[in-house]
């Protein structure tokens, strides 16, 4: 596990960007850049990080950075990887380049899933990082395939009849692992050394790797901007966000949570779940707790851990 004094002092994702105060994604980008091992190109899907870090003529990126569109970060990364291979063969290029595609949950779970699946199947050597703030936060908090059951968004509002999103979150890592890729992991910015270690490990894989990281969003999840890391930590400690990795098909639970905190501690901090605490929607809390329990049980079993 990486230690603080191992990390480079240089900031390749610089301050001055226009992400919101307390934005988890900003912290995640900074940590990602601390894990680089050499020449790197970042491909960024349209989303919060993209719009807030590169308002022309400014940029927060000290690595080469490319934004093409919303749904195609993995496809663009495929083209870059193929190009370096071809250029190397004809002697026009001589260094290995790490390619990191970065997209939010909308750009990954929903509109970008086809491009991601294609790139994983073709086996390009790149790392795909999904920073998951569990809704389309950039366009003003609309539900995505990553939004959890019960959460209120502007397209799954806390209505009188339907209390937030009726559906459940997709299993992104399950989908990625099903492609037979060598490395996939979840992470949380509250466990910085676990995350940075994983980014480095994923870069070292020869082939596609995926990291799915929880990205606390004060604006969209609606909590005080000083509480981002606390929310991210509670997500793990309530077993809402299991932190694990899958290496060559072998599952490993990286952060054990033997005595989970009640899920309500995580939910109560965020106003997107406030309506669930009304007496008429109490049963929704039970549904959500059951989903968390079952998800944890499933992952624990895959990791060979006691539930």
């Amino acid at each position: 596990m990486v230690r603080l004094h191992d990390l480079p002092v240089e900031e390749l994702f610089t301050s001055g960007h226009r992400l919101c105060a307390g934005c988890g994604a900003g912290t995640i980008m900074r940590m990602t850049m601390k894990a680089l091992r050499g020449p790197t190109v970042v491909v960024n899907a349209t989303g919060c990080v993209e719009v807030a870090s590169t308002i022309y003529p400014y940029t927060s990126w000290k690595v080469s950075w490319v934004h093409v569109a919303f749904e195609n970060a993995a496809a663009v990364a495929s083209g870059i990887e193929a190009a370096y291979k071809a250029l190397m063969r004809r002697g026009a290029w001589d260094k290995h380049v790490d390619i990191i595609a970065i997209a939010g949950d909308g750009g990954t779970f929903d509109i970008g899933i086809q491009a991601l699946s294609g790139a994983l199947e073709r086996g390009h050597d790149f790392l795909y990082i999904c920073y998951d703030n569990e809704a389309y936060m950039n366009t003003g908090i609309q539900r995505s395939g990553a939004t959890p059951h019960g959460a209120a968004t502007t397209t799954s509002p806390a209505g009188k009849k339907i209390p937030g999103k009726p559906e459940f979150k997709k299993d992104l890592i399950g989908i990625c692992v099903a492609h037979g890729i060598e490395y996939a992991a979840t992470a949380s910015p509250a466990y910085w050394n676990d995350y940075i270690t994983k980014v480095r490990k994923a870069l070292e894989v020869n082939g596609p790797a995926v990291i799915h990281v929880f990205s606390p969003c004060p604006l969209g999840m609606r909590f005080d901007s000083s509480k981002s890391i606390e929310v991210a930590r509670l997500a793990v400690q309530t077993r809402y966000w299991p932190v694990y990795e899958v290496e060559k098909g072998k599952y490993k639970l990286n952060i054990k949570v033997p005595q989970p905190k009640p899920l309500t501690e995580f939910l109560k901090m965020q106003e997107r779940f406030r309506h669930l605490f009304r007496p008429e929607f109490q049963h929704e809390l039970e549904i959500l707790q059951r989903w968390v329990d079952e998800n944890w049980k499933r992952i624990a079993a895959l990791c060979g851990e006691p539930a």
Binding site: V51, S64, W65, A83, A86
Partner: protein, 392 residues
């Protein structure tokens, strides 16, 4: 030393790509373009070319991968048709906006619905404002020649824009013709491996594709407009250089029998071949008719068109794609705008033809020529928009 090969339009394009030192091909199969992708795959799998073939899961990803590869500094080719081009639509604008000199072969095909796999120009005409240089070939020879020239035009630092080389689906894509091909060495001398000015080289980091707000967006688009204007000069230079290499003369427009023509047909692609044959017959009957075929549709060659028209009195402009609800279809609108801007009072009528691969026959074209001649006589246009060969 030139050699004669029997090639379909698709094969002619694939063969040109093989000779062009292409680095990356990212493509998805679609009728009637499929053979382009198949032949290129064979070249790659047999080790005949050095290129990486990215066999993507959609045309959207094809163009996305092409953009990524092009920004990395690779010479990039893709091919598509119809629905595939429509699916790429978003990415076409990004490829030109990010100034990626990608070359794309398009085997033009109708757009759904109803589903139809045959040739018309609805696909490329639906994307004609995407900022690409757009070329229409009349036969397999022209397709081969234009692909080689297209890379040189696209990659010129004064241009840096993508180019589409269009061939009529099935009519050209699947018809075998004799094609004079150049030697590999000759092509390599004409078109050495790509040397890009700027790439995403990690040693010299750059940010590409930033969010651009109202304070800068317009200027960046204006640079694109200027680049397309500049392409006009570059295309001319490249045509000249290619002529001295191949002996085949290209330009913006091919005119046939226009010197003393009273009436002429303006059309794109393979139809021009039939139109020329019909014009030849009519000339034997003493009728003064000619044909004007724009090779380059974007940038639209206004001056060349005016020069080509000479003292013609009537134009029949043939469109193989419908601009629903518009006063004229696409090609005719451009011709009318050009005449207006140049103060030319030429009678004009628009013929919509060949949708979904409906054949256009020599007798259809004879009727059109005769109607144009009649207008030349009477000075009266009967119908501004005709539908050729449709059961109304």
């Amino acid at each position: 030393m030139a050699r004669l090969m029997g090639l379909t339009g698709n094969e002619a394009i694939a063969y040109a790509v093989k000779q062009c030192n292409v680095d990356v091909v990212a493509a998805y199969p679609i009728t009637p373009q499929t053979i382009m992708v198949e032949v290129i795959s064979e070249y790659v799998y047999n080790g005949e070319i050095n290129a990486e073939f990215v066999c993507v899961e959609s045309e959207h990803s094809a163009m996305s991968a092409c953009v990524g590869a092009s920004l990395t500094g690779a010479r990039v080719f893709t091919a598509t048709a119809s629905q595939g081009l429509a699916l790429m639509h978003e990415m076409l604008y990004i490829a030109s906006g990010l100034r990626c000199p990608i070359v794309m072969g398009v085997a033009n095909r109708a757009l759904s619905a109803p589903l139809n796999i045959h040739g018309d120009h609805s696909d490329m005409m639906g994307s004609r404002d995407c900022g690409w240089i757009q070329i229409y070939a009349e036969n397999a020879q022209e397709a081969y020649d234009w692909v080689i020239q297209a890379f040189k035009i696209a990659e010129d630092p004064r241009v840096l824009l993508p180019v589409s080389v269009n061939i009529d689906g099935f009519i050209l894509s699947h018809s075998m013709e004799g094609v004079n091909v150049l030697d590999d060495d000759e092509v390599s001398r004409f078109l050495p491996p790509r040397r890009p000015l700027i790439t995403i080289d990690p040693a010299k980091p750059i940010t590409v594709g930033a969010l651009c707000l109202p304070d800068y967006y317009f200027e960046i688009k204006f640079q694109q407009i200027q680049a397309l204007r500049e392409a006009y000069n570059v295309i001319r230079e490249v045509n000249k250089e290619y002529e001295s290499l191949s002996g085949r003369k290209y330009g913006f427009i091919e005119s046939y029998a226009m010197e003393d023509a009273e009436a002429a047909i303006v059309c794109l692609g393979s139809t021009a071949g039939t139109a020329k044959a019909v014009a030849r017959e009519l000339r034997k009957e003493g009728k003064r008719v000619g044909v004007v075929k724009p090779w380059v549709y974007r940038p639209f060659p206004e001056d060349d068109l005016i020069r080509a028209l000479g003292d013609v009195k009537v134009l029949a402009v043939l469109d193989r794609a419908c601009s629903f609800g518009a006063p004229f279809n696409a090609l005719c609108s451009d011709v009318v705008a050009t005449l207006y801007r140049n103060g030319k009072d030429i009678k004009i009528f628009n013929c919509l033809y060949g949708l979904g691969g409906r054949d256009i026959t020599p007798s259809d074209l004879r009727v059109i020529f005769n109607e144009a001649l009649e207008i030349a006589e009477t000075g009266k246009v009967k119908e501004h928009m005709k539908f050729v060969g449709v059961r109304e």
